[in-house]
Amino acid sequence: MKPRTLFDKVWDSHVVETLPDGTCVLYIDRHLLHEVTSPQAFEGLRLAGRRLRRPDATIAVVDHNVPTTDRSLGIAEEESRIQVETLERNVVEFGVPYIPLLDARQGIVHIIGPEQGISLPGTTIVCGDSHTSTHGALGALAFGIGTSEVEHVMATQTLLQKPAKNMLVRVDGVLPPGCTAKDIVLAIIGRIGTAGGTGHVIEFAGEAIRALDMAGRMTVCNMSIEAGARAGMIAPDETTFAYVKGRPMAPQGEAFEQALAWWKTLPSDEGAHYDTVVVLDAAEIAPQVTWGTSPETVAPITGAVPDPMAEPDEAKRAQMQRMLAYMDLTPGQKLAEVKIDVVFIGSCTNGRIEDIRAAATVARGRKVAPGVRALVVPGSGLVKQMAEQEGLDLVLRDAGFEWREAGCSMCLGMNPDKLVAGQRCASTSNRNFEGRQGPGGRTHLLSPAMAAAAAVTGRLTDVRELV
C-alpha cells in the first residue's frame, strides 16, 4: 500500500462517497456549536423542515458574546443576550447537548473540546469558527466552516469537500529557554506568510513539536489558519494518549484500549508524500512579537520595526506604510521600547492552565506597571478552578491583574472587553487585524510569558530578561 500521511489516513477513513469530479462526501464525527455562527443554520433547518441528524455527535456552548464579569445576573447587552437565548432555545428544540453559561464546564469551544474528551485522535471535527484547527493537536482533522456548512453538517453529518494538499512543517532541535509554542507558530507564520498554507493541511512534526505538551501543540495548531491552512495536525503519541485518557467524554476502560489500538496506526508512514515541506531550526527561534496588522508581520523581540522603504514591491510597501501608520510605529524603532496600555492573556490560542501558569511565573512578586490594564481570562470555568486551586489567581491579583470569567473576551471584542481607539495591547490571542480587539485598537501578538512581562514593565519586553 502507498505510504500515507496522517491527514490521508484520517481523510480516507471518513470518505462516505466520492463524486465523479473528485468531490468527497466526508463524514463528520464531532460538530461543535456556539451562539454566533449557529442561529441562521438552525433557522435554515427549521424552514426546510429538516431534523438534526446526529444530536449525539453535536455539542453546544456559549463563548464569543458572553461577559467575563459576574454572569449570575444575566447578560446586560441586548443583542448578545438574544444570541445566547436563541442558542438555548435551539438546543432544546433540536435536542443538542449544551453546556450552559453558569456551568463550571463552560468555556471557549476550542478549550472545552479537548478538555472534555470530545475531541479525539483520528476524528473529523468541525465548528463554525476558524480556530477549530486547534483540535488537530490531538491528531484529529479539525477545521472551521461557515454557517451554510454548519447547516449542511446538521442536516447530513457530512460535508462536500475535496482533499487538501499535504504540507509538512518540521521544527528540528530544541527550543531555547524563554521560548514557547506561541513563538514557534509565530515564527512559522512569519516564514510562510498568511497564505503560505492555502489549500493545504499542515502536519507539524520534528523534535521541537514532539517535545511540546498538549497545550503547546494546541497553540501551534490553533494558528494554522493564520498561515491560511485548512487545518493543522500533529501525530498522536504517548503525550496525546495520556492527555485523552480519563477525560469525561473520551472512551473509557476497554473502549479506550480499542481506540488506542487504532490511534497508534495514525502517524504518517515512512516515505509518505508531502506536496510542500518547510523546515525550521528551533534553536534559532527567539521570543516573537508582531509589529503590523497581519500575523505574518512578526519579528524577534530583540529586533526593530522594519523599514517599508526596503520593500521593493510597491503594493507591499504601501501596505507596510499603512500598517505602521495604523500601529503608530516608526521604521527602525526597537520593539522592546514600544509602550503598551493593555495586556490580554487568554483566548483559544493561549487560555489553558499551562498558559496561566506561565504568566503567573513572570508576574509572581512583581506589579503591573502604572497605567497598564492587564486582563487574565481563563479559557474555561475548569481552567479557572484549577488555577484557583493552585493559587495562581492570587499571584496574578496581587500583581494587579484582573481575574475574570471564561470566554473569548478581548480576542475579538464581541463582549464588553474591548480596546478603545488608540490603545496598544500585548495580546496572547491570534489575530492583530485592524480593529480586531476594538475599533482603532492596536494589537501585538505574543506568548503568555511575554504578555506578563509586558504587563510588569509597561512595554514590549524580552521575557528572558525577567526569568
Binding site: 455562527t37 458574546n65 472551521g144 466552516i145 461557515g146 492555502t198 485592524e434 475599533p439
Partner: protein
C-alpha cells in the same frame, strides 16, 4: 440561493492584499441572528469615520461604485475568520462576483454557498481588470459563468477555471444540502460500518 448565470455590472477596484473578514465585517456586527441586512456595515471601518459619516476616499462610497456588483482585489482575499457574515454582507451590498489572484479557503467555500462567484486569475490579469475597473461607469464587465469567460469593456474575453460541481450548483441555484441528501443511503451505510469498526466512539451528552 439565487442562481448565477451571467452578470454585467460595474466592477470596483480594491487593490489591497489580505483583505480579512474582520475588515469585511467587524465582529461587533456578528450579533445578528439573520443573514440579511449586513450590507450597510460591509467594510464598516473603511467606509465610515468615527461619527458614522462616509469616508469619501473609500471606493464603495464613490459613483458609480456604489452600484458595484463585482469586486477586483489582490491576493488572499477573505483571510481570517470563518464568519459567513462576510459574504452575507457583500451580497447584501450587491456584490455577486469577486476577482482576485487568490482567496482564503473558508471564504472561498462560503461565497459559493451564497451565490457569489469567486474567480481566481493570475495577478497580471487582475491588474488589467483593475485598470478597467478604474474607468468607472463606462467600463462594465460581463461574467458569463456557463462559458467561463469574463468580457472586458473592450470586448476581449478572459477564460477562468471553476470546479465543475460548484459551477453546476451556481448555474442552477441549487441548495447543496438537497444534493447531499441524495446520498443519504450511503451515509447510513457508513454510519452502520462505523458502529461496527469503531464501537469505542462515544455518544456525546452533558450530565
Amino acid at each position: 440561493m439565487d442562481a448565477f448565470t451571467t452578470l454585467t455590472g460595474v466592477a470596483a477596484p480594491m487593490p489591497v492584499a489580505n483583505v480579512d473578514t474582520d475588515k469585511i465585517i467587524p465582529a461587533r456586527f456578528l450579533k445578528t441572528i439573520k443573514r440579511t441586512g449586513l450590507g450597510v456595515h460591509v467594510f464598516d471601518t473603511l467606509r465610515y469615520d468615527e461619527t458614522g459619516a462616509e469616508r469619501p476616499e473609500f471606493v464603495l462610497n464613490q459613483e458609480p461604485y456604489r452600484q458595484a456588483e463585482i469586486l477586483i482585489a489582490h491576493e488572499n482575499f477573505g483571510c481570517g475568520s470563518s464568519r459567513e457574515h462576510a459574504p452575507w454582507a457583500l451580497l447584501d451590498f450587491g456584490i455577486r462576483c469577486i476577482i482576485a489572484p487568490s482567496f482564503a479557503d473558508i471564504f472561498h467555500a462560503n461565497s459559493f454557498k451564497n451565490g457569489i462567484l469567486p474567480i481566481a486569475l493570475p495577478r497580471e490579469i487582475c491588474d488589467q481588470l483593475m485598470e478597467d475597473a478604474k474607468l468607472g461607469g463606462n467600463a462594465r464587465v460581463t461574467i458569463d459563468l456557463a462559458r467561463q469567460v469574463i468580457v472586458r469593456p473592450n470586448g476581449e474575453e478572459i477564460g477562468f477555471e471553476i470546479d465543475a460541481f460548484r459551477k453546476h450548483l451556481l448555474l442552477e441555484g441549487l441548495d447543496d444540502i438537497g444534493q447531499t441528501l441524495q446520498h443519504a443511503p450511503a451515509i447510513t451505510r457508513y454510519e452502520t460500518g462505523v458502529a461496527q469498526d469503531k464501537p469505542w466512539m462515544p455518544a456525546l451528552s452533558i450530565a
